[in-house]
């Protein structure tokens, strides 16, 4: 921004629309608190008076996705919950950002098991990852500042009006078009039988399609 003064001695600033918009957006982030586990407690500390995210303009936690533009996924996410999270994410208006808070949301953490998604970046475009189990509120503040930094470096106007048309379909890499990439074939359990309620359905569902070489 550049300062100047008018003919009547009134001061004013000139700036680019991008810079102005980014300044406004980055200082008025409204987080959607997707609190799933103990990280949510630290997220409350982040919003509370001691750590005070109001200093960064993001004290207004919005539980409605329509009013939020920053999703903080705090805690481990099960496969069952992941569908609800993606739905909430899709309901948030653009532009929107995402923080994966803590080890579990970033990688699955200590929950290396059948029911927990091994990192929410498998279905959400995560902007900032926070390490820790759980992270301290300072870490969340740091992540928020990183998001602000990212926003200040975006082409807001160009993004909205030139590249801004929604993509018809995001590119999905060839690996993902196969149901099972090579290293993820169904485990060989010749000695053990996996029982399913309906043998036909189970066979159909669990037979890996041939992987394109």
């Amino acid at each position: 921004m550049a300062g100047s003064s008018g003919t009547n001695g009134q001061g004013f600033f000139t700036t680019r629309v991008d810079t102005f918009l980014n300044w406004a957006r980055s200082n008025s982030l409204m987080p959607m608190p997707m609190g799933l586990a103990c990280c949510a407690i630290e997220m409350m500390g982040f919003a509370g008076p001691k750590y005070d995210s109001a200093r960064f303009g993001s004290e207004a936690m919005r539980f409605s996705p329509r009013q939020a533009d920053l999703m903080i996924v705090a805690g481990w996410c099960s496969y069952k919950m992941s569908h609800a999270i993606r739905r909430v994410w899709d309901q948030m208006g653009d532009p929107k950002w995402c923080i994966a808070m803590g080890a579990c949301a970033s990688t699955g953490g200590m929950h290396r098991c059948y029911g927990v998604v091994q990192g929410v970046d498998n279905f959400l475009p995560v902007d900032v990852y926070i390490s820790g189990c759980p992270p301290r509120p300072e870490s969340v503040l740091h992540a928020l500042m990183d998001i602000q930094e990212k926003i200040r470096n975006e082409y807001s106007v160009v993004q909205d009006y030139e590249f801004g048309k929604a993509r018809e379909r995001a590119p999905i890499m060839p690996e993902n078009t196969n149901r099972f990439p090579g290293q993820l074939e169904k485990p060989k359990t010749s000695t053990l039988t996996l029982e399913a309620p309906d043998a036909d359905d189970a066979e159909e569902a669990s037979t890996p399609e041939p992987v394109a070489a």
Binding site: P125, D160, R167, L184, K186
Partner: protein, 234 residues
């Protein structure tokens, strides 16, 4: 138990006694021989076992005692009657827990345990039924103890027992269309790839069947183009 010494006393009369100054005084009765220092009187229920034997005879298969706790094995098909008898005649009014055990043996592979408490007698009781792999049907005790509803759903979800006459036999944790029972011993800990889909990576895309899609190169992207260059570098 005699009154212990004052813990702040510099020369206690019986220092050993002080070590347990803050522990409860619920010690095993004199007639019980046990080497378990933490054994409690509350888990021994000989009178109830006698009453059960009198009422149900051969349906009480076995009584096991470990760590001063009684476990009563009963016949699977009589479990509901046994529970009703215990609740109505013996005062076991508090249903604490129910769950499954997978022993991974050829015969009687599974067990279902029932933990009951009598608030009136202040006694605890553990019932077990053995379930063979070929016949996973277990009578539901929801009719007797309504609290068993969700526990039975959980045991069904995790082990695949089919609780006969359960009012709401749905899965508890896993999605309804999930094909497996994860706490069975043969189930791989990381799950079966493709059995639990992830949500689509785009608002109108297909479900992601690969649980490690990001690691395999398919990262979800934002719905708008992110800038390739830094605007201030111009």
């Amino acid at each position: 138990m005699s009154k212990p010494d004052n813990p702040r006393d510099e020369n206690p009369k019986n220092p050993e006694e002080l070590r347990f100054h803050y522990t409860p005084t619920d010690e095993p009765g004199a007639e019980q021989e046990t080497e378990n220092a933490h054994a409690k009187d509350t888990t021994r229920v000989p009178a109830v076992i006698d009453a059960l034997r009198e009422e149900f005879g051969a349906a009480v298969l076995d009584v096991e005692r470990y760590a001063n706790e009684d476990t009563i094995y009963v016949e699977k098909n009589r479990i509901r009657e046994v529970c009703r008898f215990l609740k109505e005649e013996e005062g076991f009014d508090y249903f604490v827990d129910l769950g499954g055990i997978d022993n991974f043996t050829a015969e009687d592979r599974y067990e279902v345990f029932y933990n009951l408490v009598s608030t009136e007698r202040q006694k605890r009781l553990r019932l077990k039924v053995q379930v063979d792999e070929g016949d996973m049907q277990v009578p539901s005790v929801t009719e007797v103890y309504r609290a068993a509803n969700w526990n039975e759903r959980e045991a069904y979800d995790m082990f695949g027992f089919s609780f006969v006459d359960h009012p709401d036999p749905r899965r508890m944790y896993m999605p309804e269309d999930f094909d497996y029972h994860p706490l069975r011993k043969e189930f791989p800990q990381l799950g079966i790839p493709g059995s639990l889909p992830l949500p689509p990576q785009t608002p109108d895309g297909d479900l992601t069947m690969d649980p490690f899609a990001a690691a395999h190169g398919s990262q979800p992207v934002k719905s708008y183009e992110e800038p390739a260059t830094d605007p201030d570098s111009e």
